[in-house]
Symmetry: C2
Subunit: 92 residues, 2 copies
Amino acid sequence: MNLVTLLGFIAGAITTTANIPQLIKIYKLKDANDISAFTYILLLIGFILWIIYALCINDFPLLIANIVSLGVVIGILILKEKYKKKTPKAIR
Amino acid sequence: MNLVTLLGFIAGAITTTANIPQLIKIYKLKDANDISAFTYILLLIGFILWIIYALCINDFPLLIANIVSLGVVIGILILKEKYKKKTPKAIR
């Protein structure tokens, strides 16, 4: 593996796992009021399309990376839904 | 352009622009308490590495996509820093 390929792998690993701290933060805060559902719905659609694309071109690393990303995004959307009504209740 | 390439372009366009609604939401709420700075610092590093990678392999679409992503992430980090102390002040 040359240095440029390695650079691509590191960049991919970082951007793939970047949303994990966000998932953990929402879980700890039990609040996701500031989180844009639209952003994560776009990411959900985007990662599903990337998975289909990866299957079409038989790119295994791209497939795995996007399955991981999709899992994290689904987790964030589930927590966002779960903690949705927390802030309005606290204000009331 | 065949259907698979088009699929890749659409997937890329969606994941590249996905964070724009998050940027707008923070700007409107003037609050970013639930936003993980760690996630956006990881994305910042990741997109910088993708830009270097794109320059190394002379991939222009990849370069443009990651410059856009980097711009949005920098915007989110700036707003996160700007609205950082809002919530503690409100509690005090």
